[in-house]
């Protein structure tokens, strides 16, 4: 038991050591932690109420008082962007976590139990038959356009990616000798799957989690942009860009700033995802 935990620790230490050497990934990680803190404490950090309107100060360009300017309702864009981090994080992590749980369970069953493989994978094929955005839109139309339903829709549409990765991993690992050894000493299927196979299949799932969060954030912003996601007056970044569309000519800052917020978040997540992939499996580093 002791040797097992020591082994696991040393693997994680190795991964961490390799990740630490990747400066860009570390900067991205710090940035994401900072963003997480902003999302957590946004209520205490915002200088103005994100929803309070004031016609007297509408459409002000960035200035000393309103760092990112004000929108067409006189709302402080800086406060809205800070608060928007919370929604982006809820959407990104909420969808990806639910999709990961669903996908890992389905993928594990499909990979481990041959009799369920075809039925699960063909069901996954059906979900993947409809492109993500169309599938998400159809689910939203069925459930109604709001943030909760958007999270449900994006979670469902992201399950196949996790299921396929997990299945592929489980299929490979279950042939290993140590799985046979575990079975020969009488370990149950559940124990083999949860204690021996899944921990070893963790690396690609973690990478998919990071990169999946990026696509969820982008799809979420896109759905809000076309009016099928988060509804006004919520300060979600995609929705803010959508609302700023009519003001693009005269007041471009209204759309540029929330867009930059999205790009910084997804860029950092992408770099961290790539860094994680390289440090979890150095053979992949190119």
């Amino acid at each position: 038991m002791m040797s097992k935990s020591r082994g696991k620790n040393s693997v994680m230490k190795d991964v961490w050591r390799r990740l630490k050497r990747n400066k860009l990934a570390m900067i991205s990680m710090i940035l994401l932690i900072f963003l997480f803190l902003i999302a957590l404490f946004a209520s205490y950090m915002i200088p103005y109420d994100y929803a309070s309107m004031n016609a007297a100060i509408r459409l002000q360009p960035p200035n000393g008082e309103h760092w990112f300017g004000t929108d067409n309702f006189g709302r402080d864009i800086f406060s809205r962007v800070l608060f928007g981090a919370r929604y982006t994080l809820i959407i990104g992590l909420g969808c990806t976590t639910s999709a990961a749980i669903g996908g890992v369970v389905l993928g594990s069953i499909a990979g481990y139990y041959e009799k369920f493989d075809n039925i699960i994978m063909r069901f996954i094929d059906i979900i993947m038959g409809i492109p993500v955005f169309m599938m998400a839109l159809s689910i939203i139309v069925a459930l109604g356009a709001n943030m909760r339903n958007m999270i449900i829709a994006l979670a469902i549409t992201n399950i196949p990616a996790f299921a396929r990765i997990t299945r592929a991993q489980v299929l490979g690992i279950r042939q290993q000798e140590y799985i046979e050894a575990a079975r020969s000493i009488g370990a149950s299927n559940f124990r083999i799957l949860t204690r021996h196979i899944l921990p070893n299949a963790f690396a690609p799932i973690l990478v998919q989690f990071t990169l999946g969060t990026v696509s969820v954030i982008l799809w979420g912003a896109s759905l809000s942009f076309i009016g099928q996601g988060v509804q006004p007056p919520t300060p979600e970044w995609g929705l803010m860009i959508s609302a700023a569309r009519s003001f693009l000519r005269e007041y471009p800052y209204m759309s540029i700033i929330p867009g930059l917020a999205i790009v910084v978040t997804t860029y950092a997540l992408n770099i961290l995802g790539d860094g994680l992939r390289d440090s979890l499996d150095p053979r992949l580093k190119q």
Partner: protein, 324 residues
């Protein structure tokens, strides 16, 4: 090869049936009464009842599903609630716009992505490689609708070089195609780079170089063809994503394509139109995936060997190349 194609075609049938059932069922449970959308403010209880009768909206689920299937078999996607025209006509009249946008973006993405991917790979860790990698990362990180707005701001509003909307002139297509192609090129570039890096370390590349072949010839004749399989996968995936994601570019640039039609139809609760468009894109995606799987066999005939000697039915595990 024929055995494999046949098998893939057979596998397509249940997926297609599943897609139809899912799309139909989702919109079956959708809230709101389409009769109100059709009648507008003039709706009375009597007229609503009449519309329900006419459209069979009160029929049980299985009856409506059966009717929908029956219609689809005859190429009938139903009639639009809004225009009263057959949905298939509405789709076909908008399909070329979405196709031009999709394939224009793929061509742009392929040219830019493969070119920069090769340059990045053969000059690994150089300043150029780092810059190109950063740009490609931006391409996959930026929301396409935001990129579209930035392009409009720079090239239409500030410089006045290109029109921001319309589809009547060739110039109108440049910004939408760049918007969507940027993301595609970013994905293709990343895939080309990593795939090329793997290939250019192979012995046969060293042999080609040792024989005195020029770098360009070695890359184009020996490395690129062998790096193509993962690139083709990305292209297939990207075409499916583009067909669905065209809705964003079409919204920003006011292009009369399927995506814009879909969003308008959702707003109007025109469910036959929504069903029709989603199904149409779904069928397209399934066919593209099939085409990609078949294309693999031409690019890398070794793939087919895995299927040699295996029965058409009965091998429960390996059923698709993409599952392998």
């Amino acid at each position: 090869m024929i055995r494999y194609i046949l098998k893939r075609l057979l596998l397509m049938v249940p997926v297609l049936l599943g897609v139809i059932i899912i799309v139909f069922s989702l919109l079956y449970v959708a809230p709101g009464d389409p009769a109100l959308s059709i009648l507008g403010e003039a709706a009375t209880e009597e007229s609503i009842h009449r519309v329900h009768e006419e459209l069979g909206l009160k029929d049980p689920y299985l009856v409506r599903l059966g009717r929908y299937f029956g219609g689809l078999l005859q190429g009938d996607f139903g009639d639009s609630y809004k225009t009263k025209r057959p949905v298939v006509d509405e789709i076909l009249s908008r399909y070329p716009t979405t196709l031009i946008l999709t394939f224009g973006s793929v061509v742009f993405g392929l040219v830019v992505g493969i070119l920069f991917g090769i340059v990045s790979a053969i000059r690994q860790y150089s300043f150029l490689d780092r810059i190109l990698t950063m740009i490609s990362l931006f391409g996959v990180s930026a929301p396409s609708f935001w990129v579209a707005m930035l392009l409009v701001l720079v090239f239409s509003v500030n410089l006045g070089w290109l029109p921001a909307t319309g589809s009547d002139k060739l110039a109108c297509w440049i910004l939408p195609i760049i918007t969507m192609g940027l993301q595609v090129s970013a994905f293709i570039m990343r895939m080309t780079r990593s795939s090329m890096l793997e290939v250019i370390r192979q012995d046969y590349i060293r042999t080609a170089k040792a024989k005195g072949q020029s770098e360009i010839k070695t890359v184009l004749l020996h490395a690129l063809p062998n790096a193509l399989v993962p690139i083709v996968t990305v292209i297939g995936l990207q075409i499916c994503l583009l067909l669905a994601g065209a809705v964003l570019a079409e919204t920003v640039f006011a292009l009369p394509g399927l995506g814009k039609y879909l969003v308008d139809s959702i707003g109007y609760k025109d469910y036959p139109a929504v069903q029709g468009v989603v199904l149409w894109i779904g069928i397209n995606a399934i066919l593209i995936n099939l085409a990609v799987d078949i294309l693999y066999c031409f690019i890398d005939p070794r793939i087919l060997n895995r299927f040699k000697g295996k029965p058409l039915f009965g091998n429960r595990r390996v059923t698709k190349l993409s599952d392998v």
